[in-house]
Symmetry: C2
Subunit: 469 residues, 2 copies
């Protein structure tokens, strides 16, 4: 089949096929539809799961009970997409991309029926898959990932049915710490087993230490530097404990928060270009490199890190949505780009807020950058104002140039979103000296007269100057 | 007297004189002391009031009861300054600057005794004075400004003594709305009388309207477009009501929040350069223009607005502190600059948060800039997350270039400090199109997947594109 004759010819209806019905895919489909009517552009989207356009990031809050209803996590239902002339085929998996032929092979998950369908333009938004160690017991009942709404429902069913009291979370990244909160809210005794020296390996260990201490303060048992070797099951086949080399941690339920990898099996089989982290490589218009009519976005791609100049893999809904916007615009014949990321992330565990952007010390080292660091303690509001809460801000700046390289924040209410100041400054390539005069919002209920980020910038600028004098 | 022979000669002790013992002046003195010991630099500071280094911005919260103790508002006492070898002379007013002679004339406020003292380097940090209309009754007992700690104490004394129930606030800028909150917290029925068409004239009227509505929702009576003509007093001579052309508003206490002007009487008499707004004009090192050895900072100077390229007057503690740092560094022989402001401010009235940065529509118009606007409604957290609160964001972007010109935000918890994103973007000269890809912190408890500022940027970018196509 050769569809090339129909590509881009005025008056000819083009066909856009989208693989993956979540954030990136459906944002792309929706944006393309906004720009082109069904007369000009047919849009077919395939989703292998039961849900579309859902907030995976919201699952911990649903499990924890803050969000009472699963449907609140669904930004747009399949019916709503269809009402906007998007031919969304649920429970239908794409199992092959024929790039030369301009077609994909789809399979109905329930019936197994297969068919080929052609595309003029293709969007790959296959997302990420959770890492599941190939070790005994990881597939036992009571062991749960939290990637999809189905996963979330299964975990909630387990929690409701078993009425256990001990939970072990494997992994202490964002998902791990958020699930720790969810399980605490469910009344569980929570142990977090983590192979890093401290939780939150997206922070430097000195900042991760603060998270460790704060989580222990919340009553969570923190086990660092521990490699899980297997999951032990009872006579009923259900999970009974998590074993490390040294110890066993009894568990009525186990939640895996070990991280994810780009889901690029299809893309790889089709010969599309993958990067060092296993994600698809695109240009700035989110076009798969070397392929004029194929775009990719969301958790299945690598993105340019604007600070280090390298590609990295970040699975985060906010990027997926931006990718979708850019792809939809371009696929509809417009023009948009996604310039890259600076690596901003924010999370919380109960009232503890954790945020980071840019490079950690080891990232800077890896990128060949010499740097200075500055760590300060300050408060979220004027010290005399009620509920001023302590926060620690760590800042990295390049030696000699003073360019901001990264910021990490650990604190309470009002700490986390301050990372945005640094995120914008990183994007703009500011130096820490320039940051010291930033005109940030000040009033006693909102900030000390020197915002904590400015205090860190002053200290970092001093370190830069000391290093170059 | 000619001290010039001693200026800058190695081994000779220099003399730095500071006029004004609050944020800018004492920050300058402290920073100079950090860099130069008492052997090399003598520092003499004059303060005519009873207090030094206090947070004027904190007064509404002290009056309202959130800050129980006045002393909490004092960042550093006179004794603490003196312990650091700063010769701080309290209750001593400088009444003349003799620029040619390199000396100032000081007067002890209580005794009236006067003396001249010489300087090698001079810092003018005389602050601002509140506007007090020259109309009948404005000096009656029960009418209060809130500029100094003495003012705050007098108001608290009145509130405690009179046990009134009706308060009128004249003016609906930051001080006016913050005092409205303070008086509500004190159990008063509050009326805010404001001559602008809406409260918060630092916002565009359409955003001010939201503040009006929200404040009425808090039980505050809002009287806009009303010029106060006089303050009526009772038989006891105390305030009884505030009169406008049309109406009288009964009042047991009146608080003035009409604004301030730079206090530059001394500087003007000394022939130092003043700008259109009555503030001292400095270079970027905060040196008074044309005067190598005189610096000025804080509420008595005009600052460069980086967005419009014009000078403006902003009385705000955060700028005063930055000026002080820069002045102290330079006065001690170092090098630092204050590049200017973008006009960021944030405030709250009970749970209503109000923020702005950059240009309003009328500022843009005045500066000859053509612009587009975008106003959006969004939420502080993911819509499904508990306590997600609504906020309105208005964004101005320059026509054709798409450069960000200003942002205004009105909302509840989590709205105000988002203005910092725009403040940094303004400083960096970003376009709204560039802002659409900013990598801001996202997790459901902190933000929707598209941060409200990004939603506004998308809409503004669309308007820019529509205007240029």
């Amino acid at each position: 089949m050769n569809m090339s004759a129909s590509r881009g010819v005025p008056g000819t209806r083009e066909r856009l096929v989208v693989i993956g019905g979540d954030a990136a895919g459906m944002s792309a489909a929706s944006q393309a539809r906004r720009l082109k009517s069904a007369e000009d552009l047919e849009i077919v989207a395939f989703e292998r799961g039961h849900f579309t356009s859902f907030s995976a990031c919201g699952i911990p809050y649903w499990v924890g009970g803050d969000v009472p209803d699963r449907d609140q996590l669904i930004a747009r239902t399949a019916e709503e997409h269809r009402a906007r002339d998007i031919d969304l085929r649920m429970r239908t998996e794409v199992v092959e991309i024929d790039v030369a032929g301009g077609r994909v092979r789809a399979r109905a998950v329930d019936s197994g029926d297969e068919y080929w369908t052609s595309y003029d333009k293709l969007v790959i938004a296959t997302g990420a898959r959770p890492i599941r160690p190939d070790m005994p017991g990881f597939d036992a009942p009571g062991v749960h990932g939290v990637q999809t709404l189905d996963d979330g429902q299964a975990l909630i069913d387990t929690l409701t049915r078993t009425r256990g009291r001990r939970a072990v979370v494997v992994g202490a990244g964002y998902i791990g710490v958020e699930m720790a909160e969810a399980l605490i809210n469910r009344g569980y005794e929570v142990t977090v087993v983590n192979r890093g020296s401290e939780p939150m390996s997206t922070l430097d260990p000195d900042m991760g230490r603060l998270v460790h201490e704060a989580m222990e303060g919340l009553g969570i048992t923190m086990v660092d530097a521990a490699e899980v070797t297997k999951i032990l099951t009872g006579e009923d086949g259900r999970v009974r404990a998590v074993a490390t080399e040294d110890t066993e941690y009894p568990a009525d339920v186990v939640v895996l928060g070990i991280g994810v990898r780009p889901e690029t099996t299809l893309a790889k089989a089709a010969g599309l270009p993958l990067g060092d982290h296993g994600g698809l490589l695109t240009d700035l218009a989110m076009r798969v490199r070397g392929h004029e009519n194929i775009w990719a976005g969301g958790d299945c791609v690598e993105v340019l890190d604007l600070v280090s100049g390298r590609e990295r893999h970040i699975a985060l809904g906010t990027h997926a949505n931006k990718h979708g916007q850019v792809i939809g615009t371009n696929a509809a014949g417009g023009y948009a780009t996604f310039p890259g990321v600076v690596g901003t992330a924010v999370s919380k565990v109960c009232d503890l807020e954790i945020a980071r952007t840019g490079l950690r010390e080891k990232d800077a080292h890896r990128a060949g950058l010499q740097y200075v660091t500055a760590t300060i303690e300050s408060t979220s509001r004027a010290g005399y104002y009620p509920d001023a809460s302590a926060m620690t801000v760590k800042m990295l700046a390049e030696r000699r140039t003073g360019r901001l390289l990264g910021v990490q924040i650990v604190g309470r209410e009002g700490a986390g979103k301050r990372v945005d100041i640094a995120a914008v400054a990183l994007t703009a390539g500011m130096t820490v000296e320039q940051m010291t005069s930033l005109d940030l919002g000040y009033a006693p209920p909102f900030s000390p007269v020197w915002d904590p980020v400015l205090v860190a910038a002053r200290k970092a600028a001093k370190a830069v100057n000391a290093g170059t004098s």
